[in-house]
Symmetry: C2
Subunit: 338 residues, 2 copies
């Protein structure tokens, strides 16, 4: 992809990502009954360090014991809990929405960036920069109430498929990370998503996919307006940014929504650096994870030069910061649920 894409796609994460409301494998029951709660992780230092941390922080009398009320664990979503290539899944949703809405918008035949998008000319779309992307997202994510938007996302998730894998997007969640979420919860941790993606987009499917309820999903958001329509109170999505939950916005979002410094955080890109730093520079036991995309066979290998999910500073500083760098190729038995 072109260089200019980088800024654009970071901006895209303002409200972009993917989702699912059906087909998510029911892992919750399985992990509770099997002997190894992290069975999709290969034996080795990564798996051991996670188990050691959870064990020592949950053992009464341990010097590193953390009370249940403080067991706050935060996870990025794109590239950390599910895939994000070749472009944020929420952007795929937005593009599909433009196509679906086109018949009602004949003016798009001559209006950019819609004209280019409808002609499949993504190069021109991307050349429009942040402004073009934002216009696409706001056009497709506003002008309806929040329930209507949620239904659109769920319907899309049930039908759309990924261009490379052919899977539904909600089938491209990471099995080892889903197990990690369950393992933490089984040990009294409260799990949150803290993502640059759009919060309304995520909430349509994250509860089913990850077992994380909507109020524990923090993301970028648009403003909504309260209106009484035919006697019923409704919240209408406005084409206006409310909050960007990325980079330094992540610790800010954590404070505004959770109100406590996490003790455990997982991310995969430099957009998660501040959140990892905020987590692990607190006092007492802390754990930071960077999921490193090393597997070109089962997923996609990318880091320092990727326009999506770029991981550069995190790779430089991760070891010194004592963050666990998870090697997807070596550490994971499987990537997606079977």
């Amino acid at each position: 992809m072109k260089n200019g894409l980088l800024a654009i796609l970071i901006l895209a994460s303002i409200s972009l990502m993917c989702s699912c409301n059906n087909k998510a494998p029911d892992i919750s029951q399985k992990t509770s009954t099997i002997a190894d709660p992290l069975s999709s992780w290969n034996e080795g230092a990564s798996k051991t360090s996670i188990i050691d941390f959870v064990t020592k922080t949950t053992k009464e009398g341990s010097a590193d014991f953390i009370p249940v009320a403080d067991r706050i664990a935060c996870f990025d979503n794109d590239g950390c809990l599910w895939s994000e290539q070749p472009l944020y899944f929420q952007l795929a949703f937005a593009i599909d929405r433009v196509k679906a809405m086109a018949p009602e918008h004949p003016e798009w035949k001559t209006k950019q960036p819609f004209k280019a998008l409808l002609e499949g000319d993504m190069k021109t779309v991307m050349a429009g920069g942040e402004h073009a992307l934002l216009e696409i997202v706001m056009t497709t994510h506003a002008g309806m109430n929040v329930d209507e938007f949620s239904k659109l996302v769920k319907d899309w998730m049930a039908t759309a498929t990924h261009p490379k894998t052919g899977k539904h997007y909600n089938e491209m969640i990471y099995q080892p990370m889903v197990e990690l979420l369950h393992y933490l919860r089984d040990n009294g941790y409260k799990t949150f998503i803290v993502s640059g993606g759009g919060v309304d987009f995520m909430r349509a499917w994250t509860e089913e996919a990850y077992g994380i309820p909507s109020d524990q999903v923090i993301g970028s958001s648009q403003k909504v307006k309260y209106e009484v329509i035919n006697g019923k109170g409704e919240l209408i999505k406005l084409p206006e940014l409310n909050f960007i939950d990325d980079k330094e916005g992540k610790p800010v979002g954590i404070h505004q929504y959770i109100g406590k410094r996490p003790v455990f955080t997982a991310g995969n890109s430099d957009g998660d650096y501040a959140m990892l730093q905020y987590t692990t520079t607190g006092s007492g036991p802390r754990f930071g994870i960077i999921v490193h995309h090393t597997d070109s066979t089962r997923e996609v290998a990318y880091d320092r030069t990727s326009s999506i999910g770029r991981l550069d500073k995190g790779l430089d500083d991760g070891v010194a910061n004592k963050w666990l760098i998870v090697d997807m190729m070596k550490d994971w038995k499987v990537v997606y649920p079977q």
Copy 2:
């Protein structure tokens, strides 16, 4: 109080209220073991209607059954979970902070509204309008990190006392409402605070007082900024408004923070009208409560003309909207914990 106070004190709720970190009676254990989970409620239509709603919505097979994931209950704080007279407790905190900070601010001897406040001339302070109140709140609630602010609130709660009752402010929570919170949670409801008060002020004490964790407290907020200080990530409170969680802002806050329409909501003033309306105009079983301050002996009697917690439209429409109007004098055996 003067008329102009009304707008001021509503504005004050942007960031005002009270708090506590010790002395909160440990009701959690008691209510789980006693036979009547609402023992501080007098027998009668109010108590019966609450129990009927919870029973029918939690009984498998009932036509009104609500899945656990959708059992969202929201509570206003000031005047609903604790007292709010003669002025929002958070404003009492802010005033005490001005006094404590005065030695470092000799310029306040000649600068309004601080000069008047330090001289005990509240009439002049209030004559300064919203601007004066906002300046007092922002001055006392910013310029430090979030942990330092939380400690100030906790320290104040442990020492300050209410001018009329002589109680610590955290002892002025409503015992019947605390029981209601526990009763709902014991029946699978997730309880949230949705208050015009400052979220950082509340979180310093609401977990202990009500058993509601910080991430389930929604309130008005200031902006915070992420900074790395001596290698440690910190969040600094800025003297700038982020969100006002009052009136139509309450359903907006509910959406941004919870992402689901509640099925149960309690409030006490017209500031809660939109939240009650949003809740009870959803489909399926819904329950709305207005706590009506009718008890001039054990608390304070006020409604339509009060500058704090004014209840006017809610009284007019409450019955037609099928909201339960709780009569504090008749419905409650006790007001505060013994």
